[in-house]
Structures are given as structure tokens and as C-alpha cells.
Symmetry: C2
Subunit: 233 residues, 2 copies
DNA sequence: GTCTATACACAGATAGAC
DNA sequence: GTCTATCTGTGTATAGAC
């Protein structure tokens, strides 16, 4: 599985996401016509990502957002009740996207080695496909209300646990070496984060998402796979 | 070398740092008595880290800072000309600390394997020792003026290059396998960042900084060291 | 549905008494 | 050196015309 294939199976356009947000927040959105609402929501979220990427969500003023979307302040407030609500919507939606897609993948494959590489790749490909959502969710998590922040941490632990379980399974089957799987999994997550946090760096180094994913898998397998020589002495 | 040993050789107390900041910014600081200035600067920086950690530098108001330091607004402005200047001082000082210490280390050791592990460890230990500085420098880099932001990127490339050079040297000497050293180095940096960005997680997992560093080195060596069996067939 | 105009709170920053 | 009081700009948010 490479990125192109992954994209075909998992692509939801940013229009689909906007529609989803519209449907889930119909009560707080004052606009009733679906087509207009979805269109403008898409514009709004893109603008939020663009501005927040440069200076952070806190530093983004509603006037900035108004300028970037070419909508007036008054109009903006017809789409969400306030800046905090806007933040909440993005986080909720962001995690929904990630969760939905990751769950699909981690259940596939039997063989631990294949399972491991599939899950690691899927996570990276997903972060590439929804990069603004991943970046935003990581960088702006501090601004969340405690209850919302808890769901973020829970999600972090869920993806972490997925990896740990695969390592444990593989160890039991004698495919992976024993070791501190918690730590190994955390470090893998750190590298995955590197991909979407420092996208500019890899663009500059001319590294494709497939190269990046394969390199990571190479490192992980070198560390955890039981060597041929050890299995057939 | 473990963390305790490292600490003894490299510890500058937060008072030392405050003194350094005082000496380097004497012209913009209105307070003349060294003892008072150093004392209050220390209090100020600790407060900035504490508040920024929770809600970010942008969201921290001068009134927040006044409350946390038990100093009045007027007094604060005797120590720096404005909020932006404060940000600049922290970044400049942060990078100075990191650079000074890393340069000392990367010149030691001849053997590439030892050199690699020393540099990787040193970086992690340093980030542990000056965690607030590392965390702040990473999370608040977006708020810097372009010129200051450039020095941050330059520093990032400097530490990156240090690793790449060690891998190249080791490859030439037949100690390390050939491979994409740029990518390997980047991934190591990602893991190092993981340590100071998610400190809460490792506290919860009960992982010490020594364990973390050793585990990382284990992974890297499994991947890049030329195997015994390959060297003596 | 979208706009302009405006209310009101709070930000950063300074002046000047002590 | 430190304080209180205050200036001025900008922020979020809303009311009401079109």
C-alpha cells in the first residue's frame, strides 16, 4: 500500500467534511440553506487553518478571519456562536476523522508484522491527507476546555495502545523481540508527529510521504524483528 | 554517562541564566542594582514559562504576569520594553544555552559509535535540564519576527547536520551501514522532541530520562550498526 | 443571509506620585 | 524601584438596516 492507493480509499474532500460539520451543528448554525452553508464553512475552516498556521489560533482575530474569508464579521457569527465554539468544532471534527479512519485500518491484517507496518503507514498517510487538522489539533490543544482536552488525551492513548497491542501479539508469536513496547510505541508516535509538524522541512529535503513511511518501518523492523539467524541457528 | 553525571557538568542554575540575561540587556533594563534585577528576572521568566505552558504566550496578558509574579504592571515594564522584547529575550537566551552546551559535546569522542550515542544523549539530557526553555522555544517560535525565526531554523539545521556528519563518518569507517542519513537524523530529532513536548506522558508511564535515552540509542544502533555477523563472515 | 455600525471589555503601555 | 491610575488601541460580539 502506498500513499496514492491509500488516498483513493480514504479521501473525503474538504467539502464532505464541511457538510458533515453543517449537519452536526445545525442547531447552532443560523444558515438554513445547505449549499450556501457548506460552501462558506469550507471557506471559513480553510481560512482558520491558514491563519492559525502562521500565528496560532489565539492570535487570530475575528477581523483577520473576516478579511481572509471576504465575509463580514456579522456573517461569520451566523456560522458559529463564538470563537471558542469554532475551536471546539474543529477539534471534535478533527478527532472524528482520525478515529474513524484509524479504526478501519487497525482491524485489517492477521500477521503482526504486516499489521504493524499497515498501522504505522496508515497513520502517516492520514496525517498527510488531513494535515491541517492534525497540525491544528496538536498545536492548539492547550486552548481547549478541560472536558474537550480529555478527549484529546484519550485519543492519544487509543492510538498508542493500538501499537502496543501489536507488539505484544508479535512477541507472543515469536515474530518480535521482547522489549519495552510502551517506549517503542511512543517513539514511533513521535516520528509520526514529526511528519506533520515539520512538513516544510521534508518538502525542502524532497522527501515523499512514501519514503518517509518506509524509512520509519525500516527502523522499527530492524529493532523489533527476531533475526533470521536467531530463528534458524 | 547518565543524567546525574551530565547534570553536574552542565548545570547552570536558573539564577545564572537570569544574571546572564541581566548583563546582556543592561541597556534596556531600567533597574541598576544587580541583585534585585537578577532576583526579579528569575521570577519573571519562571512565571512566563508557567503561564505560557498552560495557555500560550499570546494568551498570557501582562496582567496575568503581574499577578503571578506579585509585581505591578509598572514594575514589569522596568525589566523589558514590551511583551515582544520579552519574547525575543527568551528565544535568544534559549538558543544560546542550547548551542553553547551542544557544541561542547559534539567535539568530544573519536569513535563514531560513541560519538553518536554521546550526542543523542546530550541533546535529551539538555532538554531535560532546560525543559521550559526547549518547550517554549518550540511552541512559541511562530510568534517570532522573521529575522529571529531564521536563527531558530538555522539552529535546527545545525543540530541536524551534527548527526548527519556522524553517520557519514561512521559509514566511511565501515561501522555504520549506508542509508539515508538525512532521514534517520530527522527521525531521531523527532523522538528527542517527543521527550520534552510530552513530558507529562512519560511521568505517567514512569519512564526516566536515562531509560528514554538508552531506548532511543538501542533503536538507532539496531538500525545503523553493521552487524557482527556481516563483519566477520 | 449579509452587511455596517457600534457596544463594551480588556489588552499593552506609560506618567507621575511615592 | 515600585506603585496606582489612566490612555489608547484592538478584541469579541451584537443590533438592526438592507
Amino acid at each position: 500500500m502506498n500513499y496514492e492507493e491509500f488516498k483513493k480509499n480514504h479521501a473525503s474532500s474538504s467539502e464532505d467534511i464541511a457538510r458533515n460539520i453543517f449537519l452536526e451543528n445545525r442547531d447552532s448554525i443560523r444558515i438554513k440553506k445547505e449549499k450556501t452553508a457548506v460552501n462558506n464553512l469550507e471557506k471559513i475552516f480553510n481560512a482558520v487553518f491558514s491563519i492559525s498556521y502562521k500565528k496560532g489560533f489565539q492570535a487570530m482575530s475575528m477581523r483577520d478571519l473576516s478579511r481572509e474569508t471576504s465575509m463580514s464579521l456579522g456573517s461569520l457569527y451566523a456560522y458559529f456562536t463564538g470563537k471558542e465554539k469554532l475551536l471546539g468544532i474543529i477539534h471534535t471534527q478533527g478527532w472524528a476523522i482520525i478515529k474513524k479512519n484509524l479504526e478501519e485500518i487497525s482491524t485489517a491484517h492477521e500477521n503482526p508484522r504486516k499489521k504493524l507496518s499497515a498501522v504505522i503507514k496508515a497513520h502517516i498517510f492520514l496525517s498527510e491527507l488531513f494535515r491541517p487538522w492534525f497540525y491544528f489539533t496538536f498545536m492548539e490543544a492547550r486552548n481547549l476546555k478541560p472536558t474537550e482536552f480529555e478527549t484529546v488525551k484519550a485519543m492519544e492513548e487509543y492510538t498508542h495502545k493500538t501499537l502496543v497491542d501489536i507488539f505484544s501479539l508479535g512477541e507472543k508469536q515469536g515474530v518480535f523481540k521482547p522489549g519495552n513496547h510502551e517506549l517503542t510505541s511512543s517513539m514511533i508516535k513521535g516520528i509520526q508527529q514529526e511528519w506533520y509538524l515539520k512538513r516544510w522541512k521534508y518538502r525542502k529535503l524532497n522527501v515523499s510521504v512514501d519514503q518517509f513511511a518506509d524509512h520509519l518501518i525500516g527502523i522499527v523492523e530492524a529493532f523489533c524483528l527476531v533475526q533470521e539467524t536467531e530463528r534458524t541457528p
